[in-house]
């Protein structure tokens, strides 16, 4: 099904932030905001919840640490014990470096993999960019048009009165 959007184009981050607040206050639902760079404070005005990716990293790190310790203790302590440099079979202090490295490796990779999955980042030719200028110098606010419900001219006026430099319509083929 095709979806129709009204795009408010802004050219300043502070105007945009103010506009988001005012427009949300009128009860209009903002579908998405696209910007060329991360805007500080946009999460609060858009009501985006804090990302839970750090939790993924924490458990990834925990897994890495446990795995590394288990691997070293099992290999050198149980599977094939050898005396190396007169040290005990399970010489914990010298297992620390590898444990640390694997903790970091697992934490970083688990978080990054989950980031790619939840953000839907994958090599793809079909990219749904609403307005190509949003990766260059414009901030784009997309509001979904519901047939028969949305008053287009009122929406247009609302966007313009809040500092939009342009208002466009865009149809997205799903």
């Amino acid at each position: 099904m095709n979806k129709k959007f009204v795009l408010g184009i802004y050219d300043d981050e502070d105007v945009l932030l103010h506009a988001i607040e005012t427009i949300r206050a009128t009860g209009t639902k903002i579908y998405e905001v696209f910007s060329p760079y991360p805007i500080h404070g946009i999460d609060d005005v858009l009501g985006i919840k804090r990302s839970r990716l750090p939790i993924v990293a924490f458990f990834g790190g925990l897994t890495g640490m446990s795995f590394a310790l288990w691997m070293q203790i099992w290999m050198l302590g149980f599977d094939w014990p050898m005396i190396i440099g007169g040290k005990p079979h399970i010489a914990l202090p010298s297992f620390i470096p590898v444990t640390f490295e694997l903790t970091v490796l697992f934490a970083a990779f688990s978080m990054v993999i989950v980031f790619f999955i939840v953000t839907n980042l994958k090599p793809s030719m079909r990219v749904n960019v609403f307005d190509k200028r949003s990766t260059d110098d414009k901030f784009v606010m997309a509001i979904e048009v519901k047939e028969g419900v949305t008053d287009l001219s009122a929406l247009n006026k609302l966007l313009r009165s809040n500092g939009a430099v342009e208002v466009n319509e865009k149809e997205v083929i799903k």
Binding site: F34, P97, F109, L121, S124
Partner: protein, 475 residues
């Protein structure tokens, strides 16, 4: 709204807009090859050819092609390995540590510095792998089952720690760098004219749209990656130093090694960043993004770490005497006044004396002086590793086995070759990848550009005189 003190120097000059940033950075990616770039790449390719030839000789005839002997079993290979790994550290420092410290000046140099890290680690990895003699068995360093043919690897060995440290460091740095590149690839994709460019950058940008939610996650991921990369970078050179410190060779068996090596790594890395950035900003006309303020900040890091290294050299010498250990004292006297005295004093001159020139503001802000000193530091840090490794080994406990080391042409070839490899990769990077992080520079533009600073002057009426004076002083 971010607030930046009006006394701070602008980080982006020339009254740039968001669109100007896109244009200035995408230009070298989109335009045809710049003749100066092509010439530089050609020279690097000659270096790469030397690398391949030397590697071929090493593999075909064996390690005997190198100048190593029974006494000096580690020489240029490990020197070059430590040198390259050290150079890599500045990239992570800029991208991770300075991110945690909220240093905005990192934004325009972090991309290139991180690329440098990755390429330097690739060069570094060549040496231990080639020194194995049979590099096709390099996977034996992994913990493979006993039934595979050998015993489990020895987890008590710092050389094995190195395997884990370097590979983790390489992969985490690569991922960190790539995530930063995604939004910029999307910018290039949305501007691309030709079908090949559009296809290539579409795949590279992974369908990035720049939605607020994606940016929010992106920021979280960057912050956490910076948080884990910071202890990681310290661990890498700590472990590299333990390759030496856990042995019982005089001059190596010291507890000062980990911090001393880490400081040295950052020192040499920043020197290499400066060497590269001074050339890059000139060739690609990025003077408005990599300003004198950036150069000066990096020079301040150089003088700090250079001084730490200087203190470490002195401490080592003092402790050698104070410990009362005959062998330790001899090792240090031999370093400074033995047959390799010239290497020791080259190291002292390049690493301890030359960076002290940066106490002068005019020298810190002079491109020519900075460029020359950065080369000196690169040379000095190479000599540091050479001095530590060769002078400690060549006269060991048994005078009958004392020997000298001299490199063969193949040793030189591999070293020069890795420099060729490094620059080949770097030049390809600057041509096909956005060399400045556009998204991050745009993010700081509003608070840190020249335009904002002029605004600040008019806004804060009472501060006006102060601000104008500051600006005059800087111009």
């Amino acid at each position: 709204m971010q607030h930046v003190s009006p006394i701070r120097e602008p980080l982006v000059t020339g009254g740039k807009t968001y669109h100007d940033i896109t244009e200035d950075v995408c230009r070298q990616v989109e335009a045809g090859p710049n003749p100066r770039w092509a010439a530089a790449l050609a020279v690097s390719l000659v270096g790469l050819a030397i690398f391949f030839y030397s590697v071929y000789r090493t593999l075909w005839f064996g390690i005997g092609e190198w100048g190593l002997n029974r006494t000096v079993g580690w020489a240029w290979d490990i020197t070059n390995f430590v040198w390259w790994v050290g150079i890599g550290h500045a990239g992570t420092l800029i991208s991770a540590v300075l991110l945690l410290f909220r240093q905005k000046w990192r934004s325009s140099i972090n991309r290139a510095a991180e690329a440098m890290t990755i390429f330097a680690v690739i060069c570094a990895a060549m040496f231990p792998v080639l020194h194995m003699g049979r590099p096709w068995l390099a996977y034996w360093v992994l913990p493979l089952p006993n039934t595979f043919g050998s015993l489990w690897v020895n987890f008590n060995s710092p050389l094995l720690w190195d395997v884990f440290a370097i590979s983790t460091y390489f992969s985490v740095s690569l991922v960190f760098w790539y995530i930063g590149l995604i939004p910029d690839f999307a910018t290039i994709r949305d501007r691309a004219v030709g079908p090949i460019a559009r296809r290539a950058y579409s795949i590279l940008s992974m369908g990035w749209t720049g939605s607020a939610k994606a940016w929010s996650r992106y920021e979280t991921v960057s912050l956490i990656l910076a948080g884990v990369a910071t202890p990681l970078v310290l661990s890498v050179h700590t472990i590299v130093s333990m390759d030496f410190a856990t042995s019982v060779i005089p001059g190596w068996h010291t507890t000062i090694f980990p911090p001393y090596f880490v400081a040295g790594a950052i020192f040499s890395g920043f020197a290499m960043v400066l060497t590269l950035m001074i050339i890059t900003r000139k060739v690609f006309h990025l003077e408005n993004y990599i300003t004198l303020e950036h150069i000066e900040s990096m020079n301040k890091v150089i003088i700090t770490t250079g001084s730490i290294v200087g203190v470490a050299y002195t401490t080592e010498f003092f402790i050698a005497w104070y410990s009362g250990v005959e062998y330790e004292s001899y090792a240090f006297l031999n370093r400074a006044f033995g047959p390799y005295w010239w290497a020791y004093w080259s190291m002292m001159t390049c690493n301890v004396i030359t960076p002290q020139l940066f106490w002068f503001r005019t020298i810190r802000r002079s491109l020519t002086a900075t460029f020359i000193i950065s080369i000196f530091v690169n040379i000095g840090m190479w000599f540091e590793r050479f001095v530590i490794i060769v002078t400690s080994l060549h006269r060991d406990y048994l005078p009958s086995s004392w020997a000298m080391f001299s490199p063969t042409i193949i040793d030189v070839g591999i070293y020069v070759g890795t420099i060729g490899l490094f620059f080949t990769l770097f030049f390809l990077f600057v041509k096909f990848f956005p060399v400045v992080n556009m998204a991050e520079v745009k993010a700081i533009l509003k608070s840190s550009s020249e335009v904002t600073h002029t605004h600040a002057d008019t806004m804060h009426g009472t501060d006006k005189d102060l601000n104008t004076n500051t600006h005059h002083r800087h111009e």
